[in-house]
């Protein structure tokens, strides 16, 4: 075998769907090569066809109405596009392995992890039970399981998200493939875990000479891990090339837009009015004042067992000044959403105080809630779940106006129109229901609803997490405009530090229900004083390939030295 031809060569791959009268093309003559030992980043937004492309390589089309209508897939020179089911079975797993975005749904919940790993070994390599087990234990150790003999018998739900992804990788590696297709393998994970998994993939590539196709929507991930980049949009491959070339000099407008909307750490300070934290003028009274707040939830416990509590927020003190834009960041489970809800009186406080505009929630609850209802509003994460599916956008907005008597009844329609203008939605959207809207449009409607009360405070809880990057950038731009043009205090909760840095003047870092660090964004991000914050920042895959990803602290035996 010579390296004269690429390991995998795709020529004019075309996939069409026939569910209506007219067939639609989902993949349009895509041609792409994967070289030996290379990591190829396949980038695109949802619906670009990048996942479908990879699945169609091994004949795993998600529905019978999808058909490969043309093109060739050459694996080591042999065309597998027209291969029979049996031939494809011998290729899947054994030569081309796959890992997926959501390990929770892709791992069999009722089968032990070890059995899922040995399944492929036994089938493809014909090993017996004992030998397969030995092989599986070895692979589990390689991908970073700490106690393989015990963890062999555990079920998927007994592991954390990161460990589940390691299990998926172990299952894929067990069959010893030449090519690994990783479909958004880190999208569902926290950044520090993402960094660990990406590092693991790099190590595996090195140790095994594996070729990897890494599908992702995050250009940062690509910049950190890949050799070449392919950009897909609307089922077409629009640009492909060496990583640095694409990132520094993208030829296509769409690629330029993708790069521009990547929320990578900007060097400049977040734009905004003059930072309030300067101690020149007398400090204005805080709009929100949180003092030693604890929020605990009961967990488990029943008739016979003792009731236990889980502390979501444990002793947080925070002041938010009028007109400020504050970002709250932290990984999942850090208590940032609970803090947001407590701030608005949406969840009972266990201890401590929340004061809004001088009204204390724990002392004068009714009065404070009244103030909060009319002067504060929230924007939620899931754009579809945050709007009542039975009401049109117009009805939703009109209801808020009517309940709060913001405008006379006759003026409601006009005001609804103004609100839609504010969030840059066409006025015709008033007559539409959430289901017929895109995620970004729904989120704009959600923001319009928040604006309808003419709030002084908006709390946005992970409101861009569910959106594509270009849409994220638009929503962030919208917030920036609103903050700049209205008397608005914004509390912006996100796990994406880069977005927070670009939007917020001040940032609060949370971990395990406590504030570990807070301060002006530029200071916290450029010179974090806490190790946790530093780790968190270092784990963000930067779009600049020369700012390398920080290594994973608890990595596999393959890691010799820790990257700085």
């Amino acid at each position: 075998m010579t390296a004269a031809h690429p390991l995998l060569s795709v020529r004019d791959l075309t996939v069409t769907v026939e569910d209506g009268d007219t067939p639609r093309t989902l993949l349009d003559t895509v041609s792409l090569d994967l070289n030996r030992g290379e990591i190829l980043g396949l980038v695109g937004e949802s619906g670009s066809g990048k996942s479908l492309f990879c699945r169609s390589l091994v004949g795993l089309l998600p529905s019978r109405s999808l058909k490969r209508t043309g093109g060739a897939v050459l694996l080591d020179g042999q065309d597998i596009a027209g291969a029979s089911a049996v031939e494809l079975q011998a290729i899947r797993g054994a030569r081309i392995g796959m890992i997926f975005q959501n390990p929770t749904s892709h791992l069999d919940p009722v089968m032990r992890i070890g059995d899922q790993i040995t399944e492929g070994i036994r089938f493809h390599q014909g090993l017996g039970g004992v030998e397969a087990r030995t092989a599986a234990l070895e692979i589990m150790a390689q991908v970073g399981f700490t106690d393989p003999p015990r963890q062999f018998s555990n079920y998927a739900h007994e592991f954390s998200g990161g460990m589940r992804q390691r299990a998926m990788i172990a299952i894929a590696l067990a069959c010893n493939p030449e090519i690994l297709i990783a479909d958004e393998p880190t999208t569902a994970l926290d950044v520090t875990i993402q960094a660990q998994i990406l590092t693991l993939l790099l190590e595996i590539r090195k140790a095994r000479g594996l070729s990897i196709i890494l599908i992702t929507h995050d250009l940062g991930v690509v910049a950190q891990t890949c050799d070449r980049i392919a950009v897909m949009r609307h089922g077409r491959l629009i640009e492909v090339g060496e990583k640095r070339r694409i990132l520094s000099a993208p030829a296509e407008a769409y690629t330029q837009a993708l790069i521009a909307s990547h929320p990578s750490m900007p060097a400049e300070v977040a734009p905004g009015r003059s930072p309030q934290s300067e101690i020149v003028s007398p400090r204005p009274r805080a709009l929100v004042e949180i003092d030693d707040l604890h929020v605990r939830f009961p967990v488990g416990g029943g008739l016979l067992s003792r009731r236990k509590t889980f502390s979501a927020v444990g002793g947080v003190s925070l002041q938010i000044l009028p007109g400020e834009t504050v970002g709250i960041v932290g990984e999942s489970g850090s208590g940032k959403s609970t803090l947001a809800r407590a701030m608005l009186g949406l969840t009972p406080l266990s201890e401590g105080h929340v004061t809004f505009d001088g009204h204390s929630l724990s002392l004068k609850r009714a009065e404070t809630l009244k103030a909060l209802h009319s002067q504060a509003a929230m924007v939620f994460q899931d754009p579809y779940n945050s709007l009542n599916p039975r009401l049109t956008i117009g009805e939703t907005l009109a209801e808020v106006l009517r309940v709060h008597r913001k405008v006379p009844d006759a003026a409601i329609n006009a005001r609804v129109g103004e609100l839609l203008d504010l969030v840059e939605l066409d006025r015709s959207f008033a007559a539409r229901k959430p289901r017929s809207l895109s995620g970004g449009q729904c989120q704009r409607a959600g923001i319009a609803r928040a604006l309808a009360v003419e709030p002084r405070l908006i709390v946005a809880d992970e409101c861009i997490a569910a959106l594509d990057v270009t849409i994220q950038a638009q929503i962030v731009a919208l917030f920036r405009k609103l903050v700049a043009t209205m008397e608005l205090t914004l509390v912006f909760i996100a796990h994406d530090l880069a977005v927070v840095r670009s939007l917020c003047q001040r940032v609060v870092v949370m971990h395990h229900g406590r504030i570990v660090e807070e301060g002006p964004s530029d200071r916290v991000f450029s010179a974090p004083s806490q190790a946790y914050t530093a780790n968190l920042i270092a784990a963000i895959p930067d779009i600049d390939p020369d700012r390398p990803l920080s290594g994973a602290p608890l990595s596999s035996p393959l890691t010799k030295g820790q990257p700085a």
Partner: protein
């Protein structure tokens, strides 16, 4: 294993339910207008019998004391005497448990034997004619009235196979089994349709699931995907459905036992209602309720065994 610890603790949670069941059965009979002693003993009761019942159940005392006596008697295993059979209610019911239990058991077994292969066949041919056929037939089957199906089976089978008995219950094991064929088939024909629909939907769902895709992506042939990944996952919700339907199933036995004159608890209940033998009605309802609670408990154990994620 700690996941199975509920087997020890759960029965304690049954106590309030059983307690509630006893209140309802008590209240039911006390709601009948007229003198409770006369209601319980029938029109031809002797004055001494009435006096005895009054004393035993404290019928002259306030209602909560009466309930206390009822409970006290219940704990002693006394639920009064049947006015038609002239014996204590509990021993009477005890003689009727076996046919009902045998009927329920054979009906469930038969339903599973019918439902699983057909559901698998339909699901694996999702969207093809076989699938549509199974779906339409099972949708029809849900609407089969058991008493009517019983008669149709008699018409079709007993005429063609005259050896099949159409009423009563045997004395030897073989004889009993033969007598159970038509009754259990009757119940199975409607129960299996419910199971089939649920199982088919679950299998279709799991065949499209990420778990199946992942298995295919590592080169597993369709047979392994189905038997090792799809079926084990699809079975769990069906066990649950079976448990939910067990009340409906037992209700079905009442009717079917009446059609086939099978001397079980259901037939006893219907006859007791006609003869206004309220002590028996009360007793049968109570025993049926306890049995349902027990069956649900067994279903919980099966669910925990089928799905390692479930914690009770």
């Amino acid at each position: 294993m700690h996941r199975y610890r509920f087997i020890l603790t759960r029965p304690l949670q049954f106590l309030p339910v059983i307690f509630g069941v006893s209140i309802i059965t008590f209240v039911l009979v006390r709601l009948i207008p007229g003198d409770p002693a006369r209601v319980l003993l029938g029109a031809r009761a002797t004055p001494t019998a009435i006096a005895n019942v009054r004393a035993q159940f404290g019928l002259d005392e306030p209602i909560w004391m009466q309930y206390f006596y009822f409970l006290q008697n219940l704990l002693k295993g006394e639920m009064g005497k049947s006015i038609t059979y002239k014996i204590d209610v509990l021993p009477l019911i005890a003689t009727r448990i076996e046919p009902t239990l045998a009927l329920v058991f054979s009906a469930v077994l038969l339903s599973v034997l019918i439902a699983v292969p057909l559901a698998a066949l339909a699901a694996r041919n999702h969207g093809r004619p076989v699938d549509h056929l199974v779906r339409v037939v099972s949708t029809f089957g849900i609407g089969f009235p058991p008493f009517w199906v019983a008669l149709m089976l008699i018409l079709l089978l007993a005429v063609a196979f005259p050896v099949l008995p159409v009423s009563g219950y045997g004395s030897t094991l073989g004889d009993k089994l033969v007598h159970l064929i038509l009754p259990s088939l009757t119940i199975a024909l409607s129960l299996s349709t419910v199971l089939m629909r649920s199982l088919r939907a679950a299998i279709v769902e799991w065949l499209k699931s990420d778990v199946a895709t992942a298995a295919r992506a590592r080169g597993m042939p369709e047979s392994i995907v189905f038997w090792r990944h799809v079926l084990p996952n699809a079975v769990a919700p069906t066990i649950n459905l079976l448990a939910v339907n067990i009340g409906w199933l037992i209700g079905g036995t009442v009717v079917v036992e009446s059609v086939f004159a099978l001397p079980g608890m259901g037939q006893l209940l219907v006859r007791a209602i006609f003869s206004r033998d309220y002590m028996v009605v009360q007793g049968v309802a109570m025993v049926f309720a306890c049995a349902t609670v027990l069956v649900n408990f067994l279903a919980d154990i099966a669910t925990v065994a089928a799905d390692p994620r479930v914690k009770l």
